[in-house]
């Protein structure tokens, strides 16, 4: 099928990074959950790793423009979004799956994704097609007309992924997307991530090191609100030695990095 390519789509980008933070500080309640984070992300799939309470979810919320940073600079798609700027243009190019996402129980999956597409200000004529494509992509075609309250946990998660990708976002933020997915669905999800990584910046927050190694082009590790490490999955694997905790080379690399960071912070 042919479609018209607009001038805006082919225009060269004028920003070096899709996501760029400098000294970013974000509060979660009174606690400073992200404290002076410097991060630069380009096109590709980036896996965000870190222990519980490292500030992953708070960072995701700040990147999704849901909460306002307490300090530092946050630039998305070349536009600064930390101040009182107009967020609409950036938000149209955003896809976000929160860690716990609420939904309207009486909506069907299709209505839910349609409603989100409408909120994302997609052109009215493009909505039905985009909704069907997003639902097909996450494998919920047979459940498209089921009410949200009848879905299982894994299906809900996939409905959440469908609403995040419905507007073909340039920045896709997925907070714990693989929770509740069975092994086969996780493989499909990794396949979808590889698809998306061609022309958008995807940040996937997860606890599962093997997900990152299998599907990500880049690993970002944070602890206590600061960047610990950024590199390729192979680099992460190379960090670990025989003495480190973990059942796979990547897990050993993860625990080695974390141990070294904690030792450095303790000094």
């Amino acid at each position: 099928m042919m479609r018209t390519v607009s001038a805006a789509e082919t225009a060269p980008t004028t920003h070096p990074w899709v996501v760029h933070t400098e000294g970013l500080r974000v509060r979660a309640g009174r606690h400073l959950a992200v404290d002076g984070l410097d991060l630069a992300l380009g096109i590709g799939v980036h896996g965000l790793l870190g222990p519980n309470g490292a500030g992953k979810t708070t960072l995701m919320r700040a990147l999704a423009t849901v909460v306002k940073p307490a300090g530092g600079r946050l630039t998305l798609l070349g536009e600064q979004v930390d101040g009182r700027s107009d967020l609409r243009r950036v938000r149209r190019a955003l896809g976000y799956l929160p860690q716990q996402f609420g939904f309207y129980p009486r909506f069907t999956v299709r209505e839910f994704v349609e409603y989100m597409a409408w909120l994302k200000e997609m052109p009215k004529t493009a909505v039905p097609g985009a909704v069907q494509r997003a639902i097909d992509r996450v494998g919920l075609t047979a459940k498209a007309n089921a009410r949200m309250k009848t879905l299982s946990g894994g299906m809900l998660r996939r409905a959440g992924i469908a609403q995040a990708i419905v507007n073909d976002p340039e920045v896709l933020l997925l907070d714990e997307p693989t929770v509740g997915l069975d092994p086969e669905q996780r493989l499909d999800f990794r396949e979808m991530l590889r698809d998306l990584s061609v022309d958008s910046c995807v940040l996937v927050s997860t606890h599962l090191v093997e997900d990152v190694v299998a599907a990500c082009t880049d690993v970002v590790m944070i602890n206590e609100g600061r960047l610990v490490y950024q590199g390729t999955p192979n680099d992460l694997t190379a960090q670990g030695g025989q003495g480190d905790a973990g059942d796979s080379p990547a897990e050993r690399g993860y625990s080695a990095l974390l141990r070294r960071h904690r030792a450095g912070a303790g000094r």
Partner: protein, 267 residues
């Protein structure tokens, strides 16, 4: 439209294009896409083989359509209303508001000596509904919605309008029933709604609603019940003051429109 190819060329095209060079075939195809007359000619000169093929394709398609899922039924707009979250979340609050107004109306009819309770309560009547309409505790999908470009003052106003659509007629009916001037009944409640929205940009809508209601109860409702006299601001002469307050507060809210783009932790 391109020029019509000669009938002889179309006949040869229908027979498989033997003896026609590629450029002629392309131009015939481009022309056929836009010209119904030449398509009819082509259909008339199709060979038996082509007809058999077309019949097979048609039979295959018909079988696929019959076996496949039914097309999605187009929904009537009103059938979606009862599935909206806002409708169900507001229902208890609006029921309570209307019940309180009803009690005030009855009390006024039974005890004509007291200062008009309806007048005293009318200003704060829409506030519980407004607070619920823009609160992260009441809206399950707040995190998804806040990250979309549509989030902001417009959405808050749309939800407020839904609340006012119930509360204003209730106030007007009660006021008409007890012979109170319509302006004194409605203008203060509109002014308080505007004040809640305006202060909501600074403190969060829920807090603003609670603060404004508390202040009104302590400063006006309780004293006037105790001294059994209506305050100056609820007498007919104060209508212009209320109108001016609405304009001023609305202007303030409009100037702080960017304060509603993120649902801060205060809500």
């Amino acid at each position: 439209m391109t020029t019509h190819p000669s009938p002889a060329v179309i006949t040869r095209y229908a027979e498989g294009g033997s003896g026609l060079d590629d450029a002629t075939v392309w131009s015939v195809e481009v022309h056929l896409e836009t010209c119904a007359g030449c398509r009819a000619h082509l259909a008339g000169s199709a060979t038996d083989d082509t007809r058999a093929l077309l019949d097979r394709v048609a039979a295959g398609l018909a079988g696929g359509i019959a076996a496949g899922p039914l097309p999605v039924r187009r929904q009537r707009p009103w059938s979606a209303v009862h599935r909206r979250w806002l409708v169900w979340a507001l229902l208890p609050w609006l029921t309570m508001t209307v019940a309180v107004l009803g009690c005030a109306f009855l009390l006024e009819a039974l005890r004509p000596g007291l200062p008009s309770l309806l007048l005293l309560l009318a200003p704060v009547a829409p506030l519980p509904g407004v607070a619920v309409a823009w609160s992260r505790r009441a809206d399950p999908a707040w995190e998804l919605i806040t990250g979309t470009p549509s989030a902001g003052l417009t959405m808050l106003l749309r939800r407020t309008a839904a609340v006012l659509a119930i509360v204003i007629p209730a106030l007007a009916l009660a006021g008409a029933g007890s012979g109170i001037s319509l302006a004194l009944m409605l203008l203060p409640s509109l002014a308080f709604t505007t004040a809640t929205i305006a202060l909501g940009a600074v403190f969060g809508v829920r807090r603003a609603a609670a603060g404004v209601s508390l202040l009104w109860t302590l400063a006006v409702v309780l004293p006037s019940v105790v001294i059994e006299e209506l305050p100056v601001i609820l007498r007919p002469g104060s209508v212009p003051v209320w109108a001016l307050a609405i304009v001023g507060l609305a202007a303030f809210a409009a100037s702080r429109a960017d304060g509603y783009r993120r649902l801060s932790s205060r809500n």
